[in-house]
Point group: C2
Chain length 202, copies 2
DNA sequence: GTCTATAGGTGGATAGAC
DNA sequence: GTCTATCCACCTATAGAC
């Protein structure tokens, strides 16, 4: 399966994505992309007329790639604990590249985002939490996982915790910190450990 | 104990603080503060010559207030579980006001911050984690808490998880979500629950 | 599709009167 | 301490030639 030569639009998205993940949506400009891609700002506006549209495409592409990764995990045949570890690994690899999760970063910028982007960011988290909730639900049913309360509430807590662990670890330029924190988080869901039957449901 | 009439500098900090907590450091301007305080931008520069200095003062004040709150918790006489609940409550009240933690927000903006602000943000987290680590350590010693691994690693994981829970809950304009997530997090440390002896140390 | 040129606005910051 | 006036850099976005 060959990788096609990247068209200009994809190259723009690649650069913009990294800029948003490192600096945030309000702290990068068309000029930054133009300089890196060796084109003028006007050329960028041909591909993405407004910054809001560029942002929207960024989120859509990111979400599609994320969902594809989740599908691969589902098809990998591992048990629920392995699935959760693979899920965390997605985050870890982003962080190893010195980046924050795109939508975690946009969650911080949320108040200032154009309405279309707000909606798309929420959609990313909804998709994430839906996958996690289903994974947690079926894992508990199979007794591979054990936890208190609803799978949905547990999924929401886990997503938030991972995003925060990423945020702090990136600040300290210390990916090991994320792995330590995520190991601790997942341990609370493993059926084997005595950490599993947590407190009252939410 | 009377509250003194707020001087201009404090009023500026109050407004700037809320703007940073809601919009981020790069998404507010002197013009925003000036409009709200009904003064000119030039007046603001008399009190805080540069935005970097304003930001530095914001962090220092926030940290001082936070440390004071932690001292009050220590003097409250509650057990370790009550202390942790009171700690989480500090976050919850900020969120109830529609705000993100000041330094959690600045952690997202971290790459773009002036060096003096970067240092101050790290200092805030260090102080937080030091208090939490000591609270966890002594709580485990007194058998009020139970958890695996070092108190420092546990404190780091907890701080990250709370910041992330805040970030996501604020995006959804749903403070209840934060309370649900934080309850779940704290449950993993209570000695009474079977959730306490978590997996391998980090 | 990419360019030059520019519009129209806002950013942080300064000089100097009052 | 606060004001008016201003500077210059940067922002997103557009018009129109090639």
């Amino acid at each position: 399966m060959l990788t096609a030569a990247p068209d200009t639009a994809s190259q723009i998205l690649d650069i913009a994505e990294r800029l948003v993940q490192t600096r945030g949506f309000n702290a990068f400009s068309y000029a930054d992309i133009a300089a890196e891609l060796h084109v003028t700002k006007a050329s960028l506006h041909y591909h993405f007329p407004t910054k809001a549209e560029l942002g929207r495409h960024l989120i859509d592409r990111y979400r599609t790639a994320f969902v594809a990764a989740l599908d691969r995990i589902d098809r990998s045949g591992g048990d629920s604990n392995a699935k959760l570890r693979a899920y965390v690994q997605i985050y870890a690899e982003v962080l190893d590249d010195g980046r924050m999760c795109l939508c975690g970063m946009l969650a911080a910028d949320y108040v200032t985002l154009p309405p279309t982007m707000k909606e798309a960011v929420r959609g990313f988290f909804d998709a994430n939490e839906a996958w996690l909730a289903e994974t947690l639900r079926s894992g508990r049913k199979k007794k591979e996982l054990a936890f208190a309360g609803s799978p949905v509430a547990a999924a929401q807590a886990l997503v938030g915790a991972l995003e925060g662990a990423m945020l702090v670890a990136r600040m300290h330029a210390n990916p090991a910190r994320f792995r330590s924190a995520s190991r601790r988080l997942l341990a609370a869901y493993a059926a084997g450990s005595r950490a599993s039957r947590a407190a009252a449901p939410a």
